[in-house]
C-alpha cells in the first residue's frame, strides 16, 4: 500500500507542487526587505550603537572615572586615565550640582577616555556596569573611518555625541529604566 502511494506521488509531481506552493505564498506576501538608505529598520530603545558620554543638566560630566567599564570590557577596548579634579573648581566644592558633601567627594575625573571601535564588540557591558549612566550606547550605527586612528574615540568625541543625542538617550533610558 505504501509503495502504491509513493508511486502516485512520484508520477503526479506532488512534491514539486508542494514546494511551488511555498514559493507562491511568499510571492504575494508583504515584503520586509527595506530600501536602505531611503528606508530604515525600527530600533529598540536598547539598541547598542555608537558610544556616548553623557553630562548632567548643569553641564558637568557624569563620568566619575571609576573604571568599572574598563574592567568589564571583554574586548579591552576602553582605556581610561584619571586624575584628581582641581580642588578649587566650583564642581569640586559642590557648588554646581550640590553633590559635594566633603572636600574630596567625587574628586576623580577622567583625563583620557578612549574607546577603540575596532576592538569593541558592542556587547553593552560598559553601559550596564556604569553606576552613573555616563557611558551609553546610542542608536547611531551609520559611521565610517577614513584614516588610521579615527577608530579610536576620544573623550571629546564621546561627549560631543552625548550632547547631540541627549534627548533621545534620556527618553530611551527612561523607557528601559523600569526593567533595570
Amino acid at each position: 500500500m505504501d509503495k502504491l502511494i509513493r508511486l502516485i506521488k512520484i508520477w503526479t509531481l506532488w512534491e514539486l507542487f508542494q514546494g511551488l506552493g511555498v514559493t507562491g505564498r511568499n510571492l504575494f506576501k508583504k515584503k520586509f526587505t527595506l530600501n536602505y538608505p531611503e528606508e530604515k529598520a525600527p530600533q529598540s530603545p536598547r539598541f547598542r550603537g555608537l558610544h556616548a558620554l553623557r553630562r548632567y543638566e548643569n553641564g558637568e560630566e557624569r563620568c566619575i572615572g571609576c573604571k568599572l567599564c574598563e574592567a568589564i570590557c571583554p574586548a579591552m577596548a576602553i582605556t581610561i586615565e584619571v586624575a584628581p579634579r582641581d580642588e578649587d573648581s566650583p564642581e569640586s566644592k559642590g557648588e554646581v550640582n550640590g553633590a559635594g558633601k566633603s572636600h574630596n567627594y567625587g574628586n576623580r575625573r577622567t583625563t583620557k577616555y578612549d574607546i577603540d571601535l575596532f576592538k569593541c564588540i558592542f556587547c553593552g557591558y560598559c553601559e550596564e556596569a556604569c553606576p552613573v549612566e555616563a557611558i551609553v550606547e546610542t542608536r547611531i550605527y551609520e559611521y565610517h573611518f577614513e584614516k588610521r586612528g579615527e577608530n579610536i574615540m576620544s573623550k571629546e568625541d564621546l561627549l560631543k555625541i552625548g550632547d547631540s543625542e541627549e534627548s533621545q538617550l534620556a527618553t530611551d533610558l527612561e523607557v528601559d529604566g523600569r526593567f533595570r
Partner: protein
Amino acid sequence: MESSAEQNIVNIEINDISLQVEPGQMLIEVADANGVAIPRFCYHKKLSTSANCRMCLVEVEKAPKMLPACATQVMNGMKVWTKSPKAIAAQKSVMEFLLINHPLDCPVCDQGGECDLQDIAMGYGGDQTRYQERRRIVKDKDYGALVSTEMSRCIHCTRCVRFGEEVGGIAEIGGTGRGDHMEIGTYVQKSLSSELSGNIIDLCPVGALLSKPFLYSARAWELQSYLSIAPHDAVGSNIKIQTRNGKIMRVVPADNEEVNESWISDRDRFSYLGANESRVTSPMVRNSSGNLVETNWQAALDTVIKSFTEIIATDGGSAVGAIASPSSSVEEFYLLQKFMRGLGSNNIDFRLQQQDFSAGAEQSAPKLELSLQEIETQNSIFIIGSDIQREQPLLSHRVRKATLAGAVVSTINPKTIEFNFAISTSVKTDKLTPALAGVAKELLSRGLGGDLNLEQLLTDGAVNIAVEAEHKEIADSLVNGENSMVLLGALAYRDQNQSRIYSLATAISKMSNSSLNIVTEGANALGGVLAGAVPYHSAGKVEVSECGVDVAEMISNPPKGVVLFGVEADKDLAGDDSAIDSLGSGFVVAITPFMDRLTYEHADVVLPLAGFGESSGTFVNAEGRWQSFSGAVKPLGEARPGWKILRVLGSSAELQGFELDSSEQVLNEVKALCDVTADKSEPEISNWSAPTDLGNIEAEMVKPIPLYEVDAVVRRSAPLQEQAKKLTGGVDDV
C-alpha cells in the same frame, strides 16, 4: 583522669567537621587555620579582640544566642556552625545595620575593589535597603599629609584605634560620642605623629582611611605587585611595590612574621614619591668650559677608564677610592670593591656617618646577635646611643612588645630622644663614654670581669670613672635579666669615640652575659661588610695586604680619583660643606640616581643609577637575613642598575672576573665567598681584647638624623617632608 598530653587538646566541631585544637584559642583563629571562612571587620590577627562589629556571629550548640567567633574561646565538645540558617540570618542582619549609614559611593571610593565591606556585602548584603531616613554624615578629620579621611564611610570597627594603642604606641585616635553620634578621630585636632601611622590605611576595612598621596590615582585591580625589600632601615621590611603602566603607584607591606609582621613604617610606605624627583636620566661628562653635558654611555665610560688609568699610571692604585651608600645592594658592594681592588686600591668604604675608625678591622660587622623575633622575649634591654624608634621603627616595635611583656629597658641617649615604650632607667647625657664606662666599672666591681683584663682600663687608669646610681640600676637589670641584650645604635657608631664605645659595650655584654646587638645606618650595612666594601678586607673576610683608607680619611685627604656610588655627598656624609667640597677636588665619578649639589658642582662624570624599585639586588638585614628582590619598573631614561654599570666598568678596565650575566650570578659569587647557606649569616665570633685607654672621653654625642632625612629618596618625598614639617611645627631640626 585524662593524661596531661590529652588535656592540651580540645575536641571541637566546626560545620560538622571534628577538629583537635589547642585550648585558649578563639574560634575565629581555629576557623582561619582550618580554612573555614567567617566574615569579620573588627578582628585582626595582630590586634586585640574588641568584638564590636558582630559580623563574625556563629551558631554554637546550646548557646541561647549567636556568639562572636572572635571572642569565643574553644571548649571541649563545642559544636559550631558558621553557615547554618541561624548564623547566616544573624550575619545578614548585622550587615544590614552596617550598611544603614555607609554611603553608596563605591565607584568613587579608592577602597573599591579591595574593600572588606564591599566583598562581604556581596555575600551577606541585601539588594535593597529598608532604611528610609537620612544617612549619617560625619565631618572629615585632618590626619596630616599621609592619611586621607572620609569619615562617613567609617563602620566603627576601631582597628585604627587599637593599632594606635597597641602597635603605634601613641593613643592618638579614639572614639568620641556614642551610638549614632560616635565618631572616630584624634582627640585634639592634629596630625598623626606615629612613624607607623600609614598602617591604619591597610587596617581600615572600608574606605574611611586612605593613602593621601595615592588618592584617586589608580584602582586596586589595575595594579601589578612586585615583592621587594624596603631600603631605608636595617630591618629589611618586606614590601610590595605596586605598579601601573610601568610606574610605581604605591607601596604596601608584605606579611613576614619573622621580619616586619604585617607592618611597614611610613618611611618605607611613602618614600617612593621621592624616587623620581631630580633624577639623572642620561650619562653626563663635564666639558672644558666646566659644564655638565649629556653624552652616551660609551663616551662616559671611556672618560672614566681613561682618567682612572692616567691617575693610576702616575700615582699608583691607592690614588683612587670609592664611597658607597650603605643602602647599596650586596651585588653593588661586591662589584664596586672588586673594581677598586682590581685597580689596585683598597680605598673603599660605606660608613658615611662614622667618624672614629681607629678600631679598624678588629670590630665585628654591625649585626644583631638575636633574631628580630627573639628581641620580643628579652627581659632586659640596654639601648646605647640609639634613637631606635626613628632609626629602625619596626625593630623598635619589637622592643616595645618586649616591654609590654614586662621587659626592663634602660638607655644612654641624648636628652632630646623620647620613646613610645616605658623606660625604667634613662641616662640622659651628652657624653656617651663616661656613662658607659660607669656601667662597665659597676659590673667589674661585682667581680664579673673574668679574664677580660679590664682593671687597668676602668679602675687603675688615669681617668677617674664615676659610678652613679643609674649605672648601678642598669648593671642590676642586665645581670638579673634572664635574657638580656645590649643594643648599640647609630648614635654610638657615629660617635667620635666609637671604637672605645664598641669595646665597652662588648665588655658589658660579656660581663653581664648579654647578647651584643648592633644596628647602624642604611639598609645593608652588614651586607657591605660581608661583600667586602671596607678598606680592611675583601668579600668573605679575605684580608688584604695593605689596608685602604676609610671614608673620613678620603674626605680630609681626597684621593685623585673617587667614585661616589649612590651617595648624596653633601647630605649623607658627616662633616661640613667645605670638607665635603674638598672631595670634589679630584676626578669625581658620581654614579647616582639623583642630581645633588656636589654632583652638580664637582662631578666630572655622572652615570645615572637605577633608583628605588628599578633594580634587582639583595639586602642583608641587621639579623643577617639575605633577602633578594627584583626590579618592579624599568629604570628611568638611560639609567642602569648598579651591578650592570659596575660590570661594564670592570670589563672596560680589562679586569678579570667581570663576565657576569645576571645579578643572581653576582649574588652566587658573593654567597660562595661568604660561605652563606640557608640565606642566613650566623653571628661571628670576634677576637676581642680590652682597649688600653678610654680614648676621647669628652666626645660630645652627635645629633640623631631626623626620621625623614635618612637618605636621598626619603629627603625627596614631598608628603614625608610635609608630614615632618607638620610634626615639628615647621622647625626643621628635631
